[in-house]
Symmetry: D2
Subunit: 377 residues, 4 copies
Amino acid sequence: MIGGGQGAFIGAVHRIAARIDNEYDLVCGAFSSDAEKSKASGLALGLHESRVYSSYQELIEKESQLPQQERVQVISIVTPNHVHFEPTKLALQNGFHVVLDKPMTFSLAEAKELQTIQQASGKRFCLTHTYTGYPMVKEARQIVQSGKLGKIRKVYVEYPQGWLSTFLEGSDNKQASWRTDPTKSGAAGAMGDIGTHAFNLAEYVSALQVTQLCADINIVVEGRQLDDDGAVLLKFNNGASGVLIATQVAAGEENNVKVRVYGEHGGLEWQQSDANTLQVKWLDKPMEIWRTGGGYTSSYATHNTRTPAGHPEGYLEAFANLYRNFALAVKADIAGEQPKAECLDYPGMEEGVRGMAFIENVIASGRSEQKWTTFNI
Amino acid sequence: MIGGGQGAFIGAVHRIAARIDNEYDLVCGAFSSDAEKSKASGLALGLHESRVYSSYQELIEKESQLPQQERVQVISIVTPNHVHFEPTKLALQNGFHVVLDKPMTFSLAEAKELQTIQQASGKRFCLTHTYTGYPMVKEARQIVQSGKLGKIRKVYVEYPQGWLSTFLEGSDNKQASWRTDPTKSGAAGAMGDIGTHAFNLAEYVSALQVTQLCADINIVVEGRQLDDDGAVLLKFNNGASGVLIATQVAAGEENNVKVRVYGEHGGLEWQQSDANTLQVKWLDKPMEIWRTGGGYTSSYATHNTRTPAGHPEGYLEAFANLYRNFALAVKADIAGEQPKAECLDYPGMEEGVRGMAFIENVIASGRSEQKWTTFNI
Amino acid sequence: MIGGGQGAFIGAVHRIAARIDNEYDLVCGAFSSDAEKSKASGLALGLHESRVYSSYQELIEKESQLPQQERVQVISIVTPNHVHFEPTKLALQNGFHVVLDKPMTFSLAEAKELQTIQQASGKRFCLTHTYTGYPMVKEARQIVQSGKLGKIRKVYVEYPQGWLSTFLEGSDNKQASWRTDPTKSGAAGAMGDIGTHAFNLAEYVSALQVTQLCADINIVVEGRQLDDDGAVLLKFNNGASGVLIATQVAAGEENNVKVRVYGEHGGLEWQQSDANTLQVKWLDKPMEIWRTGGGYTSSYATHNTRTPAGHPEGYLEAFANLYRNFALAVKADIAGEQPKAECLDYPGMEEGVRGMAFIENVIASGRSEQKWTTFNI
Amino acid sequence: MIGGGQGAFIGAVHRIAARIDNEYDLVCGAFSSDAEKSKASGLALGLHESRVYSSYQELIEKESQLPQQERVQVISIVTPNHVHFEPTKLALQNGFHVVLDKPMTFSLAEAKELQTIQQASGKRFCLTHTYTGYPMVKEARQIVQSGKLGKIRKVYVEYPQGWLSTFLEGSDNKQASWRTDPTKSGAAGAMGDIGTHAFNLAEYVSALQVTQLCADINIVVEGRQLDDDGAVLLKFNNGASGVLIATQVAAGEENNVKVRVYGEHGGLEWQQSDANTLQVKWLDKPMEIWRTGGGYTSSYATHNTRTPAGHPEGYLEAFANLYRNFALAVKADIAGEQPKAECLDYPGMEEGVRGMAFIENVIASGRSEQKWTTFNI
């Protein structure tokens, strides 16, 4: 693991997610750019001193020199956005598979370069768009792709948070500080942090791609340097339209990301606050409540479910599904087998590049006086 | 009553709403432009033949000639949009109070003219934006106005319907036919029919006014003549921003109009599907569930509540609240008293003019290549 | 109307319910046993002085003497329980149809006598068990009777309230006073007031009859004279079992009466707090959400629905359904026609007698040391 | 680990729960009474062959002989009920801490004996009543104990399942087979499997103890040998009363265990289907929605929470909380420190003995013709 030292948030989440299905052992780490802090973090995690490194460069160099059987296979990179590109590039080029936290890079240009590097490397890459790991999100996509809803016409996605309603970066809140800092976060604040999740979720569930957008991007809290709020009108490649809302100043909201898709014959609604439920709506018959663990779900849902219906699986299990599927794909590769389609259903480079394109296009649109901005990559 | 003959929908709703609180007797009507149909409708409603008229002109003329004590006091006009202006004008000018179904007129120009006429007439006017009649919508506005949420920053409103997901106007569905016909409905379809409700609800609850908008307006169902779908980015007069969604092609949706408002310290959420609940959210304490009939609500909510908490009041009671408050205001006038503030809290000319301005501005924005359109009246 | 003078609660509800569908005019009343108060109430309701009476005896006597065309047809009796039997008896024997508030009488003996009187009178009788007036409750019964759920095995019904959590009868709360007074309320408090509703709802939806019960009946609030809490184990005539909960000391609860029924293949759940929704559950497919106004509901639901799906109908409309169906049945009688089955689906004498038997059996069981008490009538 | 071989359900859950917080390594196991199967299971789990044993006796014997530093510290026992007592006894007597699946033993006599053994051993013991591991269940108990609700008056708990609606034990369903087999499950079916969970949850949240009960215990599905359904009236040691429902024939229900507690001033409601929400109700102010991760929760909730509010934690995390707290307590012991109160808040012997007493008393009551059965231990 690179990043995720003491005091970090998402690193611990990655570690739990990797542990849940017993497909990974944490064997080494460069947990901080501060060597002392890295060491302290690694020891606290039970690692042997020899495999706690002072920098990601050292980690990759030293691990590369270990015998094949001993060295780390998959490197998780959980640093702030400005330290995504370099370690990922280095890891891929040195023969390691990579799991990377989103958004993929600091800029779209980096993202595209990384895609080229990864393709050349032949190594696997997973970007942790967690919400697509939920069984009922997978089921939603399966239903859309089955054609039962007819042609998709509308896609609504929203991600309201309230935690940045005050000038939190003025305090010592580490999360708030780097996420609102353009030198660490990149071109966008809210749009990068949660807008990319919403964007990814919308494209994943609808199985469509955004082609045009029109954005209202705002800095609501005085003194903030990056957007903390936005709303975006969307056009999709099949003619459908939609709306994306992402805000961090909806005081009182937690992380209730929600997506709705409507086709000619019916619609779907999923939200994280009731994550094991998928509402399936029909023009002329009762709405159906599909549930994680229901005997009627597709192989994509059942493959990503651990407990019987009614024992809720949550965010950590959704996250674990990404890790588990990535591991199963890597293991199939090693065994010389074709990974199951269900295992390959994790977000990767394509999603990462589109996410970075979303950030740059949405910020450009926010500054434009023209209504529609073409979704350029 | 003018309009609302056999086969109509909203006329019957108006009659129930007027009856619920025993403040009105139906005494006369011109229920259809077809004299036979008007008579049949009137007799079926138990009216005396002599007061069932062949046209609204006749109704107003004949009723004007009746002695003060006998003649109708309040005229409800429930015709399609293109027959709003003339009968309302005539009624006001002949000394009758008017309750009119929304949207107010066929065009903004008519609306402004009607406002002038009404002011000159000294008669009362109510526009039936039903959703503002719900006790918990009134409570929401009171909470916003109390300042407890701080400055309002975000306003989200949505009105998803699915009933026009197919080309229903191709069948003999009377509602679908006139609502999608530009010669009867006006410049807008969905934006006039439900967009105006959403717009009114947003301004009512937030106690703000829209100053700019950016609209994506669509005709989704092939062959349709008016918009059946739209999404609008909004700017408000205090600097807040928001989103309005109104669609009639969200297959499987009923009439779940919903509004959310967020300020510096907390937010509010109300939706018609759970109409007696108001979610009050806070940055740093548990969300509160305010309920119709709860002993802690403001006078605006309690004044508009009939049953103890937990016995749900619904759409007809919300509608009845408009009628009741209008009657109480008229009665106070007659008694020479100042109506209570709670009674005056019904939508009127101002809301009607703004609603028509919304229609014209939103359609103009939909056609514009420029992002922001100033909200002109 | 007999009872329901100023300060009363349920009388006003009855009047709204009767008005909603325009099938009734309020023409006379004896609103209080206090002649002054009756007159004041009647005048406030817009009645002519000549038809406001000082007592129910006077009402029935005087109205009987009016010409057939002028006199009242249906008498609503909304007095406390101890004044149910005599006026109902007198009304029926003098040729009036009667709508009576529940529970039917003061004792089971009275109830049985009233049933004999009614059968002899040939007049119609409705007991206002409001909850069976909800469209989705009617739909629930239809689904059970269709056999789709298979043989019914479990019936759970509950009616939790919190309003009597304190010694409210020690204040000047009129409702609390008579409902906790054994000389006015009868043998039971909570069991009579809301237990009978729960019991009726359970038998109505399940289409079964209770044959045995085992009750835990409590007076929780110190100083109270009648039960304010109870729970009852139930056995039904097809071998099913169940539980009934009724309490008035569940602090914080409103009136969320709820019923669940399970058969071999699936189950049903309905609750007043979401009254337009019926959950239909299946062993091996997704739960369905049936909604008032959904195009797929039975004639029993559609007959009792006024507004399109998504515009919630509530308690007053459920109450109005009883009144409307009663009126339609009386009108059919007058027209010499057989009332439609949907119109005859209102609670009557049978339900009233069983409700009183429930009260007496449940109180007896509460006092018994034996587990099971046979449901005696 | 003892038990939990291939094909078992709860063993895998225990392993995930133990992994989540990185406090345990799986080092040895006797996964089946079939030596071959045990070996296969152990190897699949990545254990070294030398520490996969053919029987629990062998596991305990061999591990005891390992040096202190190498041998297993905590043994998880996840066998069917009839194989709980012996391995637990042996483990405790040989100096191992034990985590045991519920219900504790085959009989109350065994349970009491085990309690004596454990007390003599000085080893820690945890019984996995998972639901008390949820943060909001812990919060509920804290609120009750704070006295804010006043004296507790009512406790309702229910655990409806539908999975045994058919004669599933007639198929090759391993779970159904042993759970309905009196030689493996013990005196009770549903009452042991889920009734004990409901009982434990009721006592945990209310901080009360049952003193009397009156049960209706049924075998609903023909041919079944143990109860699959029951309802129980409860009396508590402070005078409160309540109801417990546990059924496995509520067709269409998943595992929606739910508990409600009411005191003089307000009440609480928690249910697994919305596990991160705690409804806190008040007599005279709005209901509050307390949420996992909310900044306002007690140390008992925050100690048991991993992710920010709105990222749902579920069943596996609740289970993990038991394992984590047990580990922290053991570690504190080893370090010679007093474990934090929050860590000691896991179910143990006392809960196990009371659970077995519940089973025996509830079955006795089900057979009794007397209403109340004293809760004997």
